[in-house]
C-alpha cells in the first residue's frame, strides 16, 4: 500500500482515524505530565479533599486533596509506559523466536512452540505474584509480568505469518541465491510480517493498559508516590460507595484509552488484511 492510498484509507475509515487521533491525544497528555501538571501530584491538601470539578480543579480532588486532573495525566503516562515496555519485551523476544522457529524449523521450532505453550500456562497475574513475592511490589513487576505474557503471543503471530510466507516461491528463490535462514528471515520474512506485528502490538498495548490497571488495583503493580490509573482505582476502592466520582474518572480514562487503541488496531488490520482487499477480485 502506497502512502497515498494509506492516506485515503484513513479518511474513508473514520474509526481508524478516530482511534489514532484519540491515542495520540492521550499520549500527548501523558507526555506533557513529564514537564507540567496543573498541581504537583504529591501535593496533599487534606482541607481541599473530595472537591467536585471546578475551575481550580478541573476533575476535582481525591481523598487526600490531590488534583485529579494531574493524577490522571501522570497515571496515564505510567499506564502507557508499562504497557509499551511490556509490548517491547514481548515483541523483542517473541518475534525473533517466532521468526527463527519458522526459518529454521525442526527441533528449534518444536522448542519454541513448547516454550510458548508453557508460558501460556502462566497468566500475567501469576508471574506478578511470583515476582512480588521475590522482590516486593512495583511498576517494574507489572512490566516484566505483562511482558512475559506477551512473548508467546508475538512468537505465535510471527511464526504463523512467517510460515504462510515460507512456502512461497520467493523464499525458495532467495535460498537459491545463496541466502541463509537468518538472511531470509531478516530480508524476506520480517518485512512482510511487520504489519501483522504492528496490529498485534496495538492490541497488546490495550491489553497491557488493562492488565496494569488490574495489577496495580490489587497492589502488585505501581506503588505510591508514583501513580497510575489502576492505583487511583485502588485508592478509591474503600470510598467508591460514598464518592463514586473518584472511581469514575480513572475508570473512564482507561476505557477511553483502550477503546482508542482497539479502534486503531482494528482499523489497521482492516487496512492491511489482504483478504478484505481481494474480495472484489475473487468474486469476479
Amino acid at each position: 500500500m502506497s502512502a497515498a492510498t494509506a492516506r485515503r484509507f484513513v479518511f474513508t475509515h473514520p474509526s481508524l482515524w478516530l482511534g489514532l487521533a484519540a491515542t495520540l491525544a492521550f499520549t500527548l497528555l501523558a507526555l506533557v505530565s513529564l514537564v507540567w501538571t496543573p498541581y504537583p501530584i504529591a501535593n496533599i491538601e487534606i482541607g481541599d479533599r473530595f472537591l467536585g470539578p471546578s475551575a481550580a480543579h478541573w476533575l476535582g480532588t481525591d481523598n487526600l486533596g490531590r488534583d485529579m486532573a494531574s493524577l490522571v495525566m501522570s497515571g496515564t503516562l505510567t499506564s502507557f509506559v508499562v504497557a509499551s515496555l511490556s509490548v517491547l519485551i514481548g515483541a523483542g523476544i517473541g518475534v525473533p523466536l517466532g521468526l527463527a522457529a519458522a526459518a529454521w524449523g525442526g527441533a528449534l521450532e518444536w522448542l519454541v512452540l513448547r516454550l510458548s505453550d508453557f508460558i501460556f500456562a502462566f497468566p500475567a497475574i501469576i508471574v506478578a505474584i511470583l515476582i512480588t513475592s521475590l522482590y516486593g511490589p512495583g511498576a517494574t513487576n507489572a512490566i516484566i509480568a505483562i511482558g512475559i505474557f506477551n512473548i508467546p503471543i508475538f512468537a505465535r503471530v510471527a511464526r504463523g505469518g512467517a510460515m504462510s510466507l515460507k512456502t512461497l516461491d520467493y523464499v525458495a528463490a532467495a535460498r537459491l541465491a545463496g541466502l541463509g535462514n537468518g538472511a531470509i528471515a531478516y530480508r524476506h520474512l520480517l518485512p512482510n510480517i511487520l504489519s501483522l506485528i504492528i496490529v498485534q502490538g496495538t492490541i497488546q498495548l490495550s491489553l497491557g493498559i488493562l492488565s496494569e490497571a488490574g495489577l496495580s488495583y490489587i497492589g502488585l503493580g505501581t506503588q505510591p508516590p508514583s501513580t497510575s490509573l489502576g492505583l487511583m482505582l485502588k485508592d478509591a476502592q474503600g470510598l467508591f460507595l460514598i464518592h463514586p466520582w473518584l472511581t469514575l474518572v480513572p475508570g473512564l480514562c482507561i476505557v477511553l484509552i483502550v477503546l482508542a487503541l482497539n479502534l486503531a488496531g482494528d482499523g489497521l488490520r482492516d487496512a492491511i488484511d489482504p483478504r478484505l482487499k481481494g474480495v472484489q477480485q475473487n468474486a469476479a
Partner: protein, 517 residues
C-alpha cells in the same frame, strides 16, 4: 426450452463483470462455456443458480421451463436443489470437513424429496457414481480427490435434477482421474437424460463432452455455436488463439547440437521423517526412490508424472533446495548431494517456479528481486546493472520494468520476469517446475515460445517438470515418466506416446483427450 438465459449482465459496483450473456439449453443437451480466469464463466453459473455473492447486481432474464427464477430466497433454494445439480472445482473445500459424506448426501436427499415420493437411497447414489458403501462412512479428508468429486456428483444427483452445472470439475484432479470423472459425468447425463452446463478453461474437455459451446473473454461473449464450428473453424482472433494454445504449437528453431553429459543423477533417494524431531516415530516417507538420470548439454529433458510422484522433490534436490538421503549428483564433473551444492556452482543452475504470484517478494522492486542471485557472483555496480538489463530484455521486457513492484504485472509478465531472474546469472541448466500450468491458456503459448527461443539463442539446457503431456510432447527431446518416487519409463516423446510400455504411461495415454478441431 429447459433453460434460457438472455442479456444476462452482472455488475459489482461500477464494474461490469459479465455483460449481455445469452445461452439456451435443451433437455439432455450438453453446453460448454470456455474462458480464462476472470472471463465471467463462473458468474454465469452462479447467476443461473442464484448463488452470486452479495453486492452483485443482475439484469437480463433467466428462465427455466419458460418460468423466470423465483424471487424469494427460499423458493430459489428449493428450485436449485430439485432442478439444478452443481459440481464445483475444489472438492476438498466444497465438502463439510466435520460431517461424514454419506450424511451430506443424505441431507441433500432429505431436502429435495417430498414425503410421498419414492425415496432415493444413499447406497444407490454411491453406486451410481462408482463408490463403495464404505466410502460413505468417511470424512472428506479420508477420500482421494477423485472420490471427493464423485461424492459431489452424488450430492448433485440427490434431487434428481434436469440440469447439471459442472464448474471446472476436474481442474484440481490429476490426469487419469480427470478423464474418469469426465467420463462419469458424460455417462450419468446420458443415462438420466440430464442437460449439462460444463464450465472449463480446457478446450479439449469441452470438445469431448459438449455439442455446443460459448467462448467468454473478459465478461463478453466472443463466439458461440456448435463445437465443430467454433473450435474447428474459429472466426474470432481470441478463439483462434485459445485453440492454438491448446495444441502447444511451438515452432521448431535452429538449436545448437546436443553436447556431452552436463548433469548426472546417480541413485538419489529422499526420505522424510514423520512426526516431529523424535528419534522413533512413524516410518519415513520415501518421496524419491533410487532415481538415476542424465541430462546432456543443450538438451531438453522432461519428467512427467502425477502429483505426489516425487518429481518436484527431485527438482528441488537438483537445484540445491533439498538434500538427498542417499545417492549423489554430478554437475559438470562436480559432485554434490543437493543443498551442499557449492556457492560457486549455484549460479550455473537456476529454477523457474510454478506460481508467478508467489515467486516475487511483494516488498522488493523487480530490480532488487532479480539482483538477488547476483550475490553469488561478485560483480561491480555497472556489470550488475548490465546483467539485469540483459536478462529482462532477453525475456522481451524493457529495462524500465526494473523499477516497478511485482503487483504491477500480469501473470504472464511475472512468469517472464521469473525466467529473467533465472537467466541473470547466465546459467547452464534451467530447471522449470510446471512453467506454464499456473498461467492462462492464451499466455502459455507465448511463454513456451520464449523458452524455445532462449534455448536456441543461449544454448540452454532444460529440465522440465510437468504433469502436462501435451506441453511435454511439444518441447522435450527426451521424457521420463515418474511414479511413486521411481522413474518407470524413459524415451523420445513420440515413441513413448505411440508405444507406452509401463502401466502408468499407458493409463496416462488412455486418459488423454483428443486434440481440438
Amino acid at each position: 426450452m429447459l433453460l434460457e438465459v438472455a442479456g444476462l449482465t452482472v455488475k459489482f459496483g461500477a464494474v461490469e463483470a459479465l455483460s449481455d450473456m445469452s445461452l439456451t439449453l435443451e433437455r439432455g443437451e450438453r453446453f460448454g462455456i470456455v474462458g480464462e480466469s476472470g472471463s465471467g464463466k463462473t458468474l454465469t453459473a452462479l447467476a443461473i443458480t442464484g448463488l452470486l455473492p452479495e453486492g452483485a447486481r443482475v439484469s437480463g432474464s433467466i428462465k427455466i421451463d419458460g418460468e423466470p427464477l423465483p424471487r424469494s430466497e427460499r423458493e430459489m433454494a428449493r428450485l436449485r436443489g430439485k432442478r439444478i445439480g452443481m459440481v464445483f472445482q475444489e472438492p476438498m473445500t466444497a465438502l463439510n470437513p466435520l460431517m461424514r459424506v454419506s450424511d451430506q448426501i443424505e441431507e441433500a436427499i432429505r431436502i429435495n424429496t417430498v414425503a410421498s415420493a419414492p425415496r432415493i437411497e444413499v447406497p444407490n447414489l454411491l453406486k451410481e457414481v462408482g463408490l463403495e458403501l464404505r466410502h460413505g462412512d468417511r470424512f472428506a479428508h479420508q477420500l482421494s480427490g477423485g472420490q471427493r468429486q464423485r461424492v459431489m456428483i452424488a450430492m448433485a444427483l440427490a434431487g434428481q435434477p434436469d440440469i447439471l452445472i459442472a464448474d471446472e470439475p476436474t481442474s484440481a484432479l490429476d490426469l487419469i482421474t480427470q478423464r474418469l470423472v469426465l467420463d462419469l459425468i458424460a455417462e450419468i447425463c446420458t443415462r438420466r437424460h440430464m442437460a449439462l452446463l460444463f464450465i472449463s478453461h480446457d478446450l479439449k474437455a469441452v470438445a469431448w463432452l459438449c455439442s455446443r459451446v460459448a467462448v467468454l473473454h473478459r465478461g463478453k461473449l466472443v463466439e458461440t455455436g456448435s463445437v465443430q464450428d467454433v473450435l474447428g473453424a474459429p472466426t474470432q482472433a481470441y478463439t483462434q488463439k485459445l485453440v492454438a494454445a491448446s495444441r502447444f504449437d511451438v515452432r521448431p528453431l535452429a538449436r545448437p547440437p546436443i553436447g556431452k553429459t552436463l548433469l548426472e543423477v546417480r541413485g538419489v533417494s529422499r526420505d522424510y521423517k514423520q512426526g516431529g524431531p523424535w528419534p522413533f516415530g512413524g516410518k519415513p516417507l520415501r518421496a524419491v526412490d533410487d532415481v538415476s538420470l542424465t541430462v546432456d548439454a543443450a538438451e531438453c529433458v522432461a519428467i512427467v508424472g502425477p502429483s505426489g510422484c516425487g518429481k518436484t522433490t527431485l527438482a528441488r534436490i537438483i537445484v540445491g533446495l533439498d538434500r538427498a538421503t542417499r545417492g549423489e549428483i554430478s554437475f559438470a564433473g562436480e559432485l554434490y548431494h543437493g543443498s551442499d551444492l557449492p556457492k560457486a556452482r549455484r549460479r550455473d543452475i537456476s529454477l523457474v517456479f510454478q506460481d508467478p504470484f508467489g515467486s516475487f517478494d511483494p516488498r522488493l522492486t523487480i530490480e532488487q528481486s532479480l539482483g538477488e542471485p547476483l550475490r553469488l557472483e561478485k560483480l561491480d555496480a555497472s556489470t550488475h546493472v548490465d546483467r539485469l538489463i540483459e536478462a529482462v530484455e532477453a525475456v522481451g521486457l524493457g529495462q524500465e520494468m526494473l523499477r516497478r513492484y511485482p503487483h504491477e504485472f500480469s501473470g504472464g509478465q511475472r512468469q517472464r520476469l521469473a525466467i529473467a531472474r533465472a537467466l541473470v546469472t547466465r546459467p547452464k541448466l534451467l530447471v522449470l517446475d510446471e512453467p506454464v500450468s499456473a498461467l492462462d491458456v492464451s499466455v502459455r503459448g507465448e511463454v513456451l515460445a520464449l523458452l524455445a527461443r532462449l534455448q536456441a539463442d543461449f544454448g540452454l539446457t532444460y529440465l522440465v517438470i510437468s504433469h502436462d503431456l501435451g506441453m511435454v510432447r511439444a518441447i522435450a527431446d527426451r521424457v521420463m515418466v515418474m511414479e511413486a518416487g521411481r522413474i518407470v519409463e524413459e524415451g523420445k516423446p513420440h515413441e513413448i506416446f505411440a508405444r507406452p510400455q509401463h502401466k502408468l504411461t499407458q493409463d496416462l495415454m488412455a486418459a488423454r483427450l483428443p486434440e481440438v478441431g
